[in-house]
C-alpha cells in the first residue's frame, strides 16, 4: 500500500462516525425523530461529491495547461467517484424523504406530487445528468488526445453548471428540504446542534477520504491498464 496515513485516518473517522453517529444525543425534532442522524450519511455524500468534482475540475484545467495524460485519467476517475457519491446521496435522500416529507393529511400520490416539485431534487438531478453526459461524451470519442481535450473542456462546463443547479437556484426557492431561502442546507448552524456537528465534520472528512482512496485506486489501475496496452 502507498502513502497510507490518510487512508487509515479516513477509516478511523468513518468508524467514529458509525459509532458516535448512532449514540450521541440528538435534538428531539418531532418531524425527523431519529432520522436526524442521516445527516452523518446523506449530507456527507453530497459533500464528498462536491469535493471530488472540484478535484476533477482542477485536474481538467491542469490537463489543458500541461497536456499530460495523467491529469486526464485523474479527472475522469474523480468525476466517476463523484457521480457515485451523488447517486448514493440521491438514493438516500429518496429513502429519507419517503418517511419525513409524506403529508399524512393527503394521499401518498398527492404527497409525491409536491415532493416532485422540490427545487433541490430537480437541481441535483440536472447536475448529475450533466455529469452523466460527461461519461457518454468521453466514451464516444476514439482519438485519445481529442477525447482528453474535449472532455476536459466539457468537465469545466459541467462544474460551472453546479453553481446554478445546486448552489444558487435551489437555495433561492422555498422547499421542504432544509436550507431553502433561509440559508445553507449543510452548514447552517441553526439546523444541527453543537453535539451533532462534533460528528458531522469528521464524517465529511472520513467519507471524502474514502472517496479519494477509491479514485486513486482507479487511477492507478487505469495507468497499469494503459501501460499494458502500449507494451
Amino acid at each position: 500500500m502507498r502513502k497510507s496515513w490518510w487512508k487509515i485516518l479516513g477509516v478511523l473517522l468513518l468508524v467514529y462516525t458509525f459509532i458516535a453517529g448512532l449514540l450521541i444525543e440528538v435534538p428531539r425534532n418531532p418531524q425527523l425523530q431519529e432520522t436526524i442522524r442521516n445527516l452523518f450519511f446523506h449530507v456527507c455524500m453530497w459533500f464528498g461529491m462536491m469535493i471530488l468534482f472540484i478535484v476533477s475540475f482542477v485536474r481538467a484545467i491542469m490537463y489543458l495547461r500541461t497536456n499530460k495524460h495523467i491529469h486526464d485519467i485523474a479527472s475522469r476517475q474523480y468525476a466517476g467517484v463523484g457521480i457515485l457519491f451523488g447517486v448514493l446521496g440521491y438514493l438516500t435522500g429518496a429513502i429519507w424523504m419517503s418517511y419525513t416529507w409524506i403529508d399524512s393529511n393527503k394521499s401518498v400520490f398527492n404527497s409525491f406530487d409536491t415532493i416532485a416539485r422540490e427545487p433541490k431534487l430537480i437541481g441535483a438531478a440536472i447536475a448529475l445528468l450533466v455529469y452523466a453526459a460527461y461519461l457518454v461524451l468521453r466514451d464516444s470519442i476514439q482519438d485519445m488526445d481529442k477525447r482528453a481535450r474535449i472532455s476536459a473542456v466539457y468537465n469545466i462546463f459541467a462544474f460551472a453548471m453546479l453553481f446554478p443547479s445546486i448552489w444558487i437556484i435551489p437555495r433561492l426557492l422555498d422547499s421542504l428540504h432544509p436550507g431553502g431561502s433561509e440559508g445553507n442546507p449543510a452548514l447552517d448552524p441553526g439546523s444541527a446542534s453543537a453535539n451533532m456537528r462534533l460528528v458531522f465534520y469528521p464524517a465529511i472528512a472520513g467519507w471524502t477520504l474514502i472517496g479519494v482512496w477509491i479514485a486513486t485506486l482507479k487511477i492507478r489501475m487505469k495507468i497499469l491498464y494503459e501501460q499494458k496496452l502500449s507494451q
Binding site: 431519529e34 497499469l224 501501460q227
Partner: protein, 66 residues
C-alpha cells in the same frame, strides 16, 4: 411581574413537554440493542475497507512487477 413569571413558566413547561413528547428510539438505548445495529454496520464497513486494502495491495504489487 407574577403574570410574566407564570407565562414564562408555562412557556418553559410546554417546551419541555414537547421535547419529551417526541418519540425517539429511547428503548433501544436503554436495553442496549442499539449496539447490535452498530456491530452490524461496523462489520459491513470493515468488509468494504478490507476489500479496498486488498485491492490497494494488489495494485501496488502490479506496479512493482513491471
Amino acid at each position: 411581574m407574577k403574570k410574566m413569571i407564570s407565562i414564562l413558566a408555562l412557556l418553559l413547561f410546554t417546551f419541555f413537554a414537547n421535547a419529551q413528547d417526541v418519540k425517539m428510539a429511547d428503548a433501544m438505548k436503554e436495553n442496549g440493542k442499539i449496539y447490535v445495529v452498530i456491530a452490524v454496520i461496523l462489520t459491513i464497513l470493515a468488509g468494504l475497507v478490507l476489500y479496498l486494502v486488498r485491492l490497494d495491495r494488489k495494485i501496488s504489487k502490479l506496479e512493482k512487477n513491471k
